[in-house]
């Protein structure tokens, strides 16, 4: 039998220090991420939230090993993340299942790369698919699945190789609201079962509160960390919690931080159009607030 939880609780430590990423050279260079420092402790669920275009994907791609930092470092368990590898599972914003493989073969893909033989692969994939409620679809092709199912297979596929960390880039962004809630619940279950560290990118405030131990708020370009917020809500979390005063206070706080950023991101456009003397004031280094 394949051990489904073989990650010990001391691995999966993501450390990002003074990370900066700029695309392009000289005058046309775009500074996507600027002086970001953050950390995901082993087994922790951490979200990054911010307006679109603020560099969230870039940040994640550095940890995944697809983008090289211009300055600073990103490490997982002390190892530089200079190229992608199976120790960091990734779930993408777009559906990224291999269309030519059945659901089960998609899940087996990573195990095959590790040289696991066919029958063990199949057994492991079926166990995982069973956990995600997808066993009935093991022989379906991705095209035959709904969006939510595709993303669930994507999560299962990323977990199959027992990675140290799971990197997720707005994985539920394309799903409708109800499906998204179900997916969040499933993800929480999987996360607790695998005790894996998760770095989760989102622009949905409720999603970040519901899922995370901690939330980082990023500013619009160049992306820096504006605030770090601990979510003290007990687990297991239920959708009912969304009406508790505690939850609402966090949500209010996050929304304020983010709407400042969204307005600032549009500031250039608004300045000339004139909102009747409406101004937004943001300190030189943003507002750093901790709950």
């Amino acid at each position: 039998m394949i051990p489904l939880v073989n990650k010990d609780s001391t691995t999966g430590h993501i450390r990002i220090e003074h990370l900066g990423v700029r695309f392009g050279r000289n005058s046309s260079a775009v500074e996507a991420v600027s002086d970001v420092s953050m950390e995901v402790m082993p087994g922790e669920f951490v979200s990054v939230i911010g307006p679109s275009g603020c560099g969230k994907s870039t940040l994640l791609n550095v940890v995944a090993g697809f983008v090289q930092p211009s300055v600073g470092t990103a490490t997982v368990d002390g190892k530089n993340t200079d190229k992608p590898g199976a120790d960091r599972g990734m779930v993408f914003q777009q559906y990224s299942l291999f269309p030519w493989l059945t659901v089960r073969k998609n899940v087996e893909f990573g195990l095959k790369q590790q040289g696991m033989d066919g029958s063990h692969r199949q057994q492991a994939a079926r166990t995982l698919l069973g956990l995600a409620g997808l066993l009935a679809f093991e022989n379906h092709y991705p095209e035959q699945l709904s969006g939510g199912m595709k993303q669930r297979v994507g999560i299962v596929r990323a977990l199959a190789t027992s990675p140290q960390v799971l990197l997720m880039d707005e994985p539920f962004g394309a799903l409708d609201a109800q499906t998204r809630v179900v997916m969040q619940q499933i993800l929480t279950n999987m996360w607790q079962r695998f005790r894996i560290s998760v770095l989760f990118i989102t622009h949905d405030i409720d999603e970040s509160i519901f899922l995370s131990d901690r939330v980082y708020v990023m500013t619009s370009r160049p992306g820096l960390i504006k605030a770090e917020i601990t979510i003290p809500l007990p687990r297991p979390r239920t959708p009912d919690m969304a009406s508790t005063p505690e939850y609402l206070a966090i949500k209010h706080h996050l929304r304020k931080l983010i709407s400042e950023e969204s307005l600032k991101a549009m500031g250039g456009e608004l300045k000339d159009g004139g909102l009747g003397g409406f101004t937004i004031e943001v300190g030189p280094h943003g507002v750093t607030e901790l709950i």
């Binding site: 995944a64 090993g65 697809f66 190229k83 992608p84 590898g85 199976a86 960091r88 599972g89 990734m90 993408f92 777009q94 559906y95 990224s96 299942l97 291999f98 269309p99 030519w100 493989l101 893909f109 990573g110 095959k112 790369q113 590790q114 995600a132 409620g133 997808l134 009935a136 679809f137 379906h140 092709y141 991705p142 095209e143 035959q144 699945l145 709904s146 969006g147 939510g148 199912m149 595709k150 669930r152 596929r157 990323a158 190789t161 394309a174 799903l175 409708d176 609201a177 109800q178 499906t179 179900v182 997916m183």
Partner: protein, 332 residues
């Protein structure tokens, strides 16, 4: 990973066939899913959904009703086809019967009856079957080698800058030269007549296969390659298990075109320099004033070509079961 290359191949044949993009299909799917309340697929995504629920809602029909419906739909088509072919044969019959000579001349053209009578004789001729077999063997060899090399080089050129820089200029220079133009050179290059004909056949199909493979590799969705890398695939595994299958629809478009060009090149080569082969048979019939055999040769060439394209399509359907059946019903 790589930007779409500008291939500067301007000659008309071996054009790159557009095949349905998987990426497009996927993003369309994503949009469909974001639409609230669409009914075709399970939106709630609860784990109780069963495969049966995924089947599109279709009213249950009795088999008899289905056959009747099919007949209703198909019959006019069958009738029109019969009428169309009947018209063609009638024209042929009358043109040859009255030996029309109106700028184009039917004076020496065999009639449908002559052709049928000669065909009845040829059915018993071992020589005729041998000619067919020789042509088929040349196609299998030439086209097979072209497939192997075209796909391999296409994958390398599409994926690796170095291979592109090193190999593409050679192919760009050779590519505009039609395979038939190679005949004299091929006869000098290769030790036997047979190998030079196979070489001509190879050349004809190589470029469409190569170009379509390159195009296929370049249109692979980058997120699939990233997913492959994240799952621990090394370069070779990535090439074989991600890029090759992702490019397969384009590759098969190339194979379909390549098969057509292979036959064109083969028949011409056989007529020019051949011994044996169905092209040689057809040309020989002309020299020997066996005019009915010319038509038989032509018909057999057409049928063999059709069978080969059908074989490719069948293979494509077998190798790409994930595609909806209509997607790779090629534009052969």
């Amino acid at each position: 990973m790589h930007t779409a290359p500008k291939l500067d191949f301007s000659a008309p044949d071996g054009a790159v066939l557009e095949t349905p993009r998987l990426t497009l299909a996927l993003s369309a799917e994503a949009k469909a899913d974001a639409t609230p309340g669409h009914q075709r697929r399970p939106t709630s995504d609860a784990s109780q959904a069963t495969p049966a629920q995924l089947a599109p809602a279709m009213p249950a029909l009795l088999p008899v009703q289905r056959i009747a419906a099919w007949l209703r739909g198909a019959l006019p088509g069958v009738l029109m086809t019969a009428l169309s072919l009947g018209l063609f044969i009638a024209f042929w019959y009358f043109a040859t019967k009255y030996r029309w000579d109106i700028y184009i001349r039917f004076t020496n053209i065999p009639s449908p009856g002559d052709v049928l009578a000669n065909a009845a004789n040829l059915v018993h001729s071992d020589k005729f079957y041998h000619n067919m077999w020789v042509s088929l063997r040349r196609i299998l060899l030439g086209f097979g080698i072209a497939t192997g090399l075209g796909v391999t080089f296409g994958l390398l050129i599409g994926q690796y800058r170095f291979a592109r820089g090193l190999l593409l200029p050679i192919f760009e220079v050779l590519r505009p030269i039609p395979a038939i133009a190679w005949v004299p050179m091929a006869i000098m290059l290769w030790p036997s007549n047979e190998t030079s004909i196979v070489f001509i056949t190879f050349l004809g199909s190589f470029f469409p296969i190569l170009l379509n493979t390159i195009h296929g590799v370049n249109s692979v969705d980058a997120v699939l390659v990233r997913a492959g890398r994240c799952l621990g695939a090394n370069e070779l595994a990535l090439l074989r298990q991600v890029i090759l299958p992702a490019a397969l629809p384009h590759i098969f478009a190339g194979l379909t075109i390549g098969m057509g060009v292979a036959w064109v090149s083969l028949i011409a080569a056989e007529m020019i320099s051949g011994q044996f082969g169905i092209g040689y048979f057809t040309w020989e019939a002309y020299s020997l004033i066996q005019y009915a055999d010319i038509a038989i040769g032509m018909i057999v060439i057409g049928m063999l070509g059709l069978a080969c394209s059908g074989g490719i399509r069948l293979l494509g359907n077998l190798l790409m079961p994930w595609l909806p059946a209509h997607a790779n019903r090629g534009r052969a």
